[in-house]
C-alpha cells in the first residue's frame, strides 16, 4: 500500500536536499561551531588550570610569607633579648665603673683634703707664730715704751736671773 511504498519523487528531493543541507551545514555551521566549541573548552580548561596554579602559588607564597614572618618575629625577639642583655650588661658595667671612679675620686679627695688640711694647719701654725711674735713685739714695744718700764723689766729679769 501507499504508506510503505517510497515514492521516487520524495526519495529524489530528500536525497538532493539532504545532501545539500549536509554540505552547507558541514562547511558553514558544524565546522566553525565545533571548532569554536573545542577552542572555548580548551581555553576554559587552560584558564581553570592557570587559576589552580595561581591558587597553589598563592598558597605557597602565603606559606612562605608566614614562614618569613615567623622567622622575622623570632629574629626580632632574639635581637630584643640581646639588646636588653647588652643594655643590662652596659648599665652594670657603667655602674661598676662609676662606683670605682667615685671611690677613687673620694679617696683622692680625702687625700687632698688631708694634705690641704695639713698645709693649712702648718700655715696657720706659722701664721699664729708670726702673729704671736708680732703681738709679743708690739706688747714689748708698748711695755718698753718709756725708760722706767725698761728699767723695771730689766730689774725683774735680773731678779729672775738671781734666783737661778
Amino acid at each position: 500500500m501507499e504508506l510503505i511504498q517510497p515514492s521516487i519523487g520524495l526519495v529524489f528531493w530528500m536525497t538532493v536536499s539532504f545532501l545539500i543541507l549536509l554540505f552547507i551545514l558541514k562547511k558553514f555551521a558544524w565546522k566553525p561551531i565545533l571548532q569554536m566549541l573545542s577552542d572555548r573548552e580548551h581555553s576554559i580548561a587552560e584558564a581553570l588550570n592557570t587559576a589552580k596554579k595561581a591558587r597553589e602559588e598563592m598558597a605557597s607564597l602565603k606559606a612562605d610569607n608566614e614562614r618569613l614572618l615567623q622567622e622575622a618575629r623570632l629574629e626580632r625577639d632574639r635581637m630584643l633579648k640581646e639588646a636588653r642583655d647588652t643594655k643590662d650588661a652596659i648599665i652594670a658595667e657603667a655602674k661598676e665603673k662609676a662606683q670605682a671612679e667615685g671611690n677613687k675620686i673620694m679617696a683622692q679627695t680625702r687625700e687632698a683634703i688631708q694634705t690641704e688640711k695639713n698645709a693649712a694647719v702648718t700655715e696657720l701654725k706659722n701664721l699664729v707664730a708670726t702673729m704671736s711674735v708680732q703681738i709679743a713685739e708690739k706688747i714689748l714695744r708698748a711695755e718698753l715704751s718709756n725708760d722706767q718700764k725698761q728699767k723695771d723689766l730689766v730689774q725683774s729679769m735680773l731678779k729672775d736671773i738671781k734666783m737661778n
Binding site: V11, L22, K31, M36
Partner: protein
C-alpha cells in the same frame, strides 16, 4: 521508551490499514476547529453533512500520506488548499511542470495527466478536460517519474530552510562572540551539539569521531526538527515527513553507505569470517552477519517511520472519535471531544518526547554502526597464544 511507543501505538497502526473507500471527505479543518475549541462550529457542520458517513481510516491515511496540495480546510471541490508544483518527467512526453490547482481536486486532467486517489497518472487524452472522461494510459504512467513538490517535499524544504537559518545564524553568533559564553539561540543549540558530540559520537565511534560529526549533527537536528514540525497541526507544519518511508529510507541508506564506505578490514572480517569461530559454525553465522548488514539500516528506516507515523495516527484517531460519536448524536460528540482533546494533549506531550527520542536513537545507532565499521582489530587472540 522506543519499544513502548511501538507496542502502544501498534493497534492504531493496524486500524489505519482497514480503510474503506468512501466518497465522504472529512477535512483537516474539522480537526483543527475541534482542537482550537470551536466545538459549536463543528457540531453544526456535522449535522449538515450527516447524510455522508465519516470514515476515520480514510481521513487518517490522507493525513499521514503525501499529497499534491497542502490542504487547509473544507471538503471535496469546496476545499481550500495551497497548490503545489507538479513536476512530471516522462521518457516520451518530456518534462511537464504546472501547479496542482490545474487538477481542480482530481476533477480535471491537464497536459495528459490527472490525479487519481492522490497519485498523478498519465491519460490518453492531452489537454484540459473532465477527469472522469479520460482513460488511464498504463504504459505512459509506468514511464512517468513524479518529481513533484508534494506536501512532504514542501515541508522538507521548509524544514531545511529552517535548519539552515538556525545553524548559520548560530555559526555566525559563534564567530561574533568568539570565546565568550553563548547567547540566545546559540545557548539553546549548544547543549544539544555537545550532547551529540559527547554522549553519542565520542562513546560510540571512538577517537575518530570528528569525521562523522557533521553527518550525525545534521541527521539529529533534521529528524528532530521534522518530528516537531509534524506535531504542529497547521501549515507549514503537519506534514508527516519523518513518518514517510521514502524519507526514512533515504536517511537509513545514507547511514548504510557511510558505514560501508568507511568500513575497514576488521569489519569485513567479522562479517565474512568471524575470528575464533569454527568453520562449521561460520557456515551458519556468515549468512546471518551478511543479513545483519542490510537489516540494520532497514530497522533504522522502519523504526523512525513507524514511531512517527504511529504518533500522527494516534492523535488523528482521538479526533476521529469525536466525529464518529458526533454522527450518533451531537451531544455525545461534544462529550467525547473533551476526553479526546485531553488525550491528544497528553499524547502530544508524549510525542514531544518521542520526537527527541527518535532523533536520538537514529543518531546513536548510526554512530554505533560507524563505530563498528572503523573499530580496530583487538589482539586478544594473539596475546592469548603468546601467553601459552
Amino acid at each position: 521508551m522506543t519499544t513502548f511507543a511501538l507496542t502502544f501505538e501498534n493497534p492504531h497502526f493496524v486500524a489505519m490499514t482497514q480503510s474503506t473507500h468512501n466518497k465522504s471527505l472529512k477535512g483537516f479543518f474539522r480537526l483543527l476547529i475541534t482542537g482550537v475549541f470551536l466545538l459549536t462550529a463543528f457540531s453544526s457542520s456535522a449535522s449538515e453533512e450527516s447524510s455522508e458517513k465519516f470514515d476515520a481510516g480514510k481521513m487518517i491515511v490522507e493525513h499521514i500520506t503525501d499529497a499534491h496540495d497542502w490542504h487547509l480546510w473544507g471538503e471535496g471541490h469546496s476545499s481550500v488548499s495551497v497548490p503545489l508544483p507538479v513536476i512530471i518527467y516522462n521518457s516520451e512526453r518530456g518534462l511537464s511542470v504546472f501547479m496542482s490547482s490545474r487538477f481542480h481536486h482530481e476533477e480535471m486532467s491537464y497536459d495528459g495527466y490527472k490525479l487519481e486517489e492522490g497519485k498523478v497518472v498519465a491519460v490518453h487524452e492531452m489537454g484540459e478536460m473532465e477527469a472522469s472522461l479520460t482513460t488511464v494510459n498504463e504504459e505512459a504512467t509506468a514511464h512517468s517519474y513524479d518529481l513533484s513538490i508534494t506536501k512532504n517535499v514542501a515541508s522538507l524544504l521548509f524544514s531545511i530552510a529552517l535548519l539552515l537559518w538556525i545553524f548559520l545564524s548560530v555559526a555566525s553568533a559563534y564567530r561574533r562572540n568568539e570565546g565568550q559564553a553563548p547567547k540566545g539561540l546559540q545557548s539553546f543549540v549548544e547543549p544539544l551539539i555537545v550532547f551529540v558530540r559527547d554522549e553519542i559520537a565520542k562513546p560510540s565511534i571512538g577517537p575518530k569521531y570528528m569525521k562523522y560529526m557533521p553527518y550525525l549533527l545534521t541527521v539529529f537536528f533534521f529528524i528532530w526538527i521534522n518530528n516537531l514540525l509534524g506535531l504542529i497541526p497547521i501549515i507549514p507544519g503537519g506534514a508527516n515527513v519523518t513518518g514517510n518511508i521514502a524519507v526514512t529510507m533515504t536517511l537509513a541508506l545514507i547511514t548504510f553507505i557511510i558505514t560501508t564506505v568507511s568500513a575497514n578490514k576488521n569489519y569485513w572480517q567479522h562479517i565474512f569470517a568471524m575470528p575464533g569461530v569454527p568453520a562449521g559454525v561460520l557456515v551458519l553465522l556468515t549468512p546471518i552477519e551478511i543479513l545483519g548488514v542490510f537489516l540494520r539500516p532497514f530497522v533504522l528506516m522502519i523504526r523512525l517511520f513507524a514511531n512517527i507515523t504511529a504518533g500522527h495516527i494516534i492523535a488523528l484517531s482521538f479526533f476521529s472519535l469525536i466525529f464518529i460519536f458526533g454522527e450518533m448524536s451531537t451531544g455525545l460528540g461534544l462529550g467525547v471531544s473533551v476526553f479526546s482533546v485531553a488525550f491528544v494533549i497528553f499524547m502530544s506531550l508524549l510525542e514531544l518526547l518521542v520526537a527527541f527520542l527518535q532523533a536520538f536513537v537514529f543518531t546513536l545507532l548510526s554512530a554505533i554502526y560507524f563505530g563498528s565499521a572503523i573499530e580496530e582489530h583487538h589482539h586478544e587472540g594473539h596475546e592469548s597464544s603468546h601467553s601459552h
